[in-house]
Structure formats: structure tokens, C-alpha cells
Amino acid sequence: MTDPRHEKEQQKHRLNEPEGDEIDVTRMHLGLTREHGEPHEGYEPMPLWLPTLIVGLLVWAGYYIGRYGGTFDANSYDPVTIEEGAGSGNGASQGSPMDRGKNVFVSTCVSCHQTNGEGVPDQYPPLAGSSVVTGDSKKLVQIILHGLNGPLVIGGKRYDGSMPAWAGTLDDAQVADVSTYIRKSWGNKGDEVTPDQVKAIRAATSGRGQPWTAAELGLPH
């Protein structure tokens, strides 16, 4: 394919491309003065598939707006949002205690105790393999409700931090579910905690305005 016009064009453009550092004055001016005229439009017709595509897209747009248009309203969210009832303040009431407990756990506990329940060395004690978690459920619920302050020994390691109180955030069912979840996860083998148990403990300790210490609960410290 040696179109002579094509060859010539190529040559022209090679002139635009300098080589190395040599400056040849004539060549330089060639590069500058030789260019094609200012561009203008040709009048080829559109390929037929383009209008076809456009019609197809417009039909699709009609469908999409019909399907997802919603109402022309400020509170018109994607359908499922409304079904889930943006109305309930504390949702997630379906599923088994373990599922619900996991939801509470990933929401409120992981930032310290981590997803794997291992805690953070020297900072936050592990829940996995912890006797405080799997032991007396009353002490565990008391800690979750009101928090824990000061030194505590878990698995032979000493921690000196403070856990916040959750009594104001979590209801009885949530405390029960999350207790059940951590007592039965990561190889832990504890029994379930029921909302009624939590309710009783909450009532019994309702006057308490500050976190526990390990000493108060008779835990190693």
C-alpha cells in the first residue's frame, strides 16, 4: 500500500519532529510554515447504527425513569429504604440471637476488641479465650452496662484502660444478644444470656453512675 499522497503526508510530519539537538535553520522553518489548512467539516452521513442506538437509549431512559423515578418529592427514597422503615430507631430485630449479637458487636465493640475478638496488645483485652467473658454472665453484663475502669488481668497480661458504659445506648435485648455472641464466638463456650437476665441486672444496678473496677467485681487485677 504505497499511496503517494500518504507518503508525502508522512514526510511532512517527519519534518515536525526534530532529531537530536541539531538545528538546521531551513528544516526549522519547514516545520513551522508547512502545515495543513485550518480544519473544516466534511459532510459524510451518520452511520445508520448510531440513530438506532439513540432510539434504543431513549427507550431505555423512559423505562429507567419509570422504574426508578420515584415520586417528585423530597422524601422519596429508593423503595427499599422506605420498606426498611427509616422509622425505627433501633432496627435489626430479626435473626437469631447470634446474628443480632454480631450486629451489635460490629457496631459498638470492634473498634477496641477487634473483629477477631483478640483486642489490641497492651491496650484492649481480648474477648476470645477470656474467662471474664465466658464466666459469670452477671459480671459480664454488669461490665457492658456500666463499663470498667482501671487495671485488669486477662490471660496473664495486665491492662489499664477504661471501657465505656453501654446502658444508655443498648437495650436489654441488645446487651443479651451481644453477650451471647461473645460467649459463643472464637472458640468461646459460654451459655446464652437472656433479655430478662439483663433486665434484672439493669434494675439491680440502676443507681450506679460510674464504671466498675476489677476489684469491685472480684476479678484479677
Binding site: D73, A74, N75, Y77, D78, V80, T81, I82, E84, G85, A86, G87, S88, G89, N90, G91, A92, N103, V104, F105, V106, S107, T108, V110, S111, C112, V120, D122, Q123, Y124, D160, G161, S162, M163, P164, T169
Partner: protein, 197 residues
């Protein structure tokens, strides 16, 4: 030819105006009438929370943290425990600038005040996120803290050895750090939204 130019001008103007109204001004006027109803919060921010919010904006937290909880169909925000319900326009009536965010290099913070109420955790996390969250890629904010001696407010941060500025030195949060933590703790979406259904 001039008529062509005028035609073009009006075309360019019309397309601009259509979108200006369509996706900017109409939503604005429509959503501005949305107000929390009945017993619903959100409450306005306190002075301190607003100061903290300015620190949040200043340090560009919004570039890695969103503040919105999406419905189940759009992602697993709620299964992740980031919130118990999708957020709606009413939740943001007090926000300017609004900090919805478009990136989740870090977790969503729309409900962080419920999820992590501990001052101590937040302060350590801000001083160096790897103290509380090993493997985190969040930047440290040591300029929100001072070494004891330079500053005194009767409150020190109990840092692990490896993160302390020098052996034995105590670190004290500045007012800005406390403001920022106050703001983060104010981010709660545990109230009911009424008038939706």
C-alpha cells in the same frame, strides 16, 4: 450568521439553566422545606461540637470517611454495624458544609458517637491510629497534642512506649483535640425519623 451565534448562545444558556434548576435549585428548594418533625432530633451542635467540626473540615477527614448510611440494597452499611437505619435528608439539616463524603478509605462515621463513646479511645486514635487500630492507614494528628511541660490541662494520654514522643514523656490533648472528639461523639443516628412513611 449572527442569528446562528444567537441561536448557539440561547442553546448553551438553555442547557445550563435546565440543569441548574433540575439538579441544583429545585432539589434545594424542595429539600429545604424538609425539617425534623415531632420528637425527632437532630439537635443543633453545641459551640464545642461546632469548633470540633471545623477541625474535622480543616484536616480533610471527609476525604476518607463518609457520613451516610445506605439502605440494604445499596451496600452492607447496616450489616457492618455502621448504623441501624438509613440516613435521610432530615439528619443533615444543621450541616454546613455537609460532609456526606464519597470515599470509604476508613469506616463510615455517621453513627460513630453511638458506636464509640470513649474519649480515651478517640484521643489515642487521633494521636496515632495504630495505637488502637493496628494496621490502620489513617494519618496521625500529633499537632492536636502537646508534650507535658509545654502545656498543662491536668489530663494526660497514657501512651504505649513505642508511640510516646520520647521515653517517659506525657502527651496532653489540646482544646482542638477535645473539640474534635466532642464533635465525633455528637454524631448519632439513634433517634427516630418521623413523617417518612
Amino acid at each position: 450568521m449572527m442569528s446562528r451565534g444567537i441561536l448557539m448562545f440561547f442553546g448553551v444558556l438553555a442547557t445550563y439553566i435546565s440543569a441548574l434548576f433540575g439538579i441544583n435549585l429545585i432539589p434545594k428548594f424542595m429539600l429545604e422545606r424538609v425539617r425534623p418533625e415531632g420528637t425527632m432530633l437532630p439537635y443543633a451542635y453545641t459551640e464545642q461540637e461546632l469548633r470540633g467540626r471545623r477541625v474535622y473540615v480543616r484536616e480533610g477527614c471527609v476525604y476518607c470517611h463518609s457520613q451516610q448510611i445506605r439502605a440494604k440494597q445499596n451496600g452492607s452499611d447496616m450489616e457492618r454495624g455502621w448504623g441501624q437505619r438509613p440516613t435521610v435528608a432530615q439528619d443533615y439539616v444543621h450541616d454546613s458544609p455537609v460532609l456526606l463524603g464519597t470515599m470509604r478509605t476508613g469506616p463510615d462515621l455517621a453513627n460513630i458517637g453511638v458506636r464509640q463513646p470513649s474519649d480515651d479511645w478517640h484521643l489515642k486514635h487521633l494521636y496515632n491510629p495504630r495505637i488502637t487500630s493496628p494496621g490502620s492507614i489513617m494519618p496521625p494528628y500529633p499537632w492536636l497534642f502537646m508534650k507535658q511541660g509545654e502545656y498543662d490541662r491536668g489530663m494526660t494520654l497514657d501512651l504505649p512506649q513505642e508511640f510516646a514522643p520520647e521515653a517517659g514523656a506525657q502527651v496532653i490533648p489540646t482544646q482542638e483535640a477535645l473539640d474534635l472528639v466532642a464533635y465525633l461523639k455528637s454524631l448519632k443516628r439513634n433517634y427516630k425519623v418521623e413523617g417518612l412513611k
